[in-house]
Symmetry: C2
Subunit: 325 residues, 2 copies
């Protein structure tokens, strides 16, 4: 008898290791209510005997990107990319020395750039993103991510992704969810790295976009980005982007700012079990702490609405054992 | 020994039945060159030892819908839907009695409707599709498909799908391809039935679209279709729709008209193994025969270009053993 048990010991050991992983799909989440609520939701929608069961094709989960999957301070990382592009391209644009918002960019006056508002940002995006082919743009983004470090953390930008959210994405996918990004950021800015970083393929990335033109240049077909907005995938634009790209209403949505209000509203007002998640930046030590008064990632209306609408507010400081991988 | 062989006989029988299916993934295709070329392509891009191997995430296949996956005569089925909608809505629009293209629709003058051209068609689409919420529109399309028969075949429209193409879609998916519709037809017109009919989920349907607006009506969030074109997913619009929704270049594309020229060009000019397929309507007995002079599904430039570009032209009459399921 003893010999038999010894023989089985390695098997039990393997099984118990597997069980630890199965028991805790979210190891970087503290054992607080947030984690329990996520697991309770996933358990009930995937249990065929539950009244809340949702068939696999309907398990659509959408995630905001800036401030929800990766950091967004001191400003959106795509703005840092646009600023670097302005500096690179300035040699061919002497007029930028006196023309806003370019002049402020060249003087490294981030505050004045931010003050130029949405119009200024769109001018920067148009000037630095348009005119390139999709392939050129993708390569430029990839090279920039490879070669550039965050101004204060010194990390690569795609290292400043939230480990608990990576685990959440994988946990949802392991349970038959299809995970999408639905971001105010540029769709073609995210696609080159979202698959490696988040496991989210290009066809599951929804974002703001410029119009495109198809043409054949010297016998070679190209798609060229035009300096004209196609979709601003933010606020009321998020449900529009979701319908356009996905064609069904998500049952799970995660965001971190008032820009996600309508996505959360659209998601959680559907019939059946729904989950709305709001990442609240409360950790000034390990990341940043901000909400109502922040120019980037302002969280005010959605924070007030969360309790009555049943949205789950994640307190980064207390709910997350770890921030970055 | 004999007893052992007898004992194994049912197993061999089962294996050989399985092999027949595995040996012929396209039973409704005749054993002509077209079928052999499709199988040769799929075999080489899925063989890790082949120089033409393509990793699974890059196996993107795009299919036109009208005349490629289902029939399109006497006119696009979506136009028949719009015509039925005009008749239903006419009671609230007395002005349509004298206003083109509505007047011709109400007089059942299909020829005059067709003569109103793209502008007339867009007016019909705008008048009959816009103003509804996405959910209302989806229900209306579903009800119409349930209740309406094709004017000459007497079949339901979603029974007029091509059995050989259904097999091709499944064969590609069985080999790790992700299959998409990329159609000039309306994206929200196709989504309600594409999943059941073709196995293609809403998030893999690309089509022409109207702009949408998100709003909260009496506390209920809705997405409303606006009478304003967002994308005409035809001709140069097809590669744009592909990039916008999929974000990678397909390695396989199928169409049937000059409206697919640019999709075929974009697909087959990429690096590595590519497959362009053109369905040529040559079967006046079992379906319809038309190409260069047809108002619907005109196939002229793409037919001429096929040989030099290596596109595979399917001769419906000779390559397909069966048309409809
Ligand atoms: Ca955000
Ligand atoms: Ca067609």
């Amino acid at each position: 008898m003893k010999r038999h048990l010894l023989f089985l010991a390695p098997v039990f050991f393997v099984l118990s290791v597997v069980n630890v992983k199965a028991d805790d799909p979210l190891p970087s989440w503290n054992d607080s209510r947030a984690k329990q609520e996520i697991i309770a939701f996933v358990t009930k929608v995937t249990d065929p005997n539950s009244p809340d069961f949702v068939s696999q094709p309907e398990r659509i989960a959408t995630f905001d990107n800036d401030g929800c999957l990766w950091s967004e301070k001191p400003v959106y990382f795509q703005l840092l990319f646009a600023i670097d592009r302005v500096k690179t391209l300035a040699v061919d644009h002497p007029e930028w020395k006196t023309q806003e918002p370019f002049a402020s960019v060249l003087k490294d006056d981030l505050k004045a750039v931010a003050a130029s508002g949405e119009k200024g940002l769109m001018q920067l995006i148009a000037a630095t993103h348009a005119g390139m082919t999709i392939e050129q743009f993708s390569t430029t983004v990839g090279d920039w991510l490879e070669s550039t470090k965050h101004p204060t953390t010194g990390k690569r930008f795609n290292e400043m992704v939230y480990q608990p959210m990576l685990e959440l994405l994988e946990y949802l996918r392991d349970n038959g969810f299809k995970t999408f990004i639905v971001s105010g950021g540029g769709i073609e800015f995210m696609r080159p790295w979202a698959e490696n970083t988040y496991g989210i393929p290009p066809e599951q990335v929804v974002g703001s976009s410029l119009k495109m033109k198809y043409e054949v240049r010297d016998g070679v077909p190209v798609l060229v980005k035009l300096p004209e907005v196609d979709l601003i995938d933010d606020k009321v634009g998020k449900p529009v982007g979701i319908q356009s790209h996905i064609g069904r209403r998500p049952i799970f949505a995660a965001g971190n700012s008032d820009g996600d209000f309508q996505m959360l509203e659209w998601t959680t007002s559907g019939q059946g079990a729904r989950f709305g998640l709001v990442v609240h930046h409360t950790d000034a030590q390990r990341e940043w702490a901000y909400d109502r008064d922040s120019a980037v990632g302002k969280l005010d209306r959605a924070l007030d609405a969360a309790p009555e609408r049943g949205w789950h507010v994640i307190d980064m400081k207390n709910d997350w054992a770890k921030i970055y991988p």
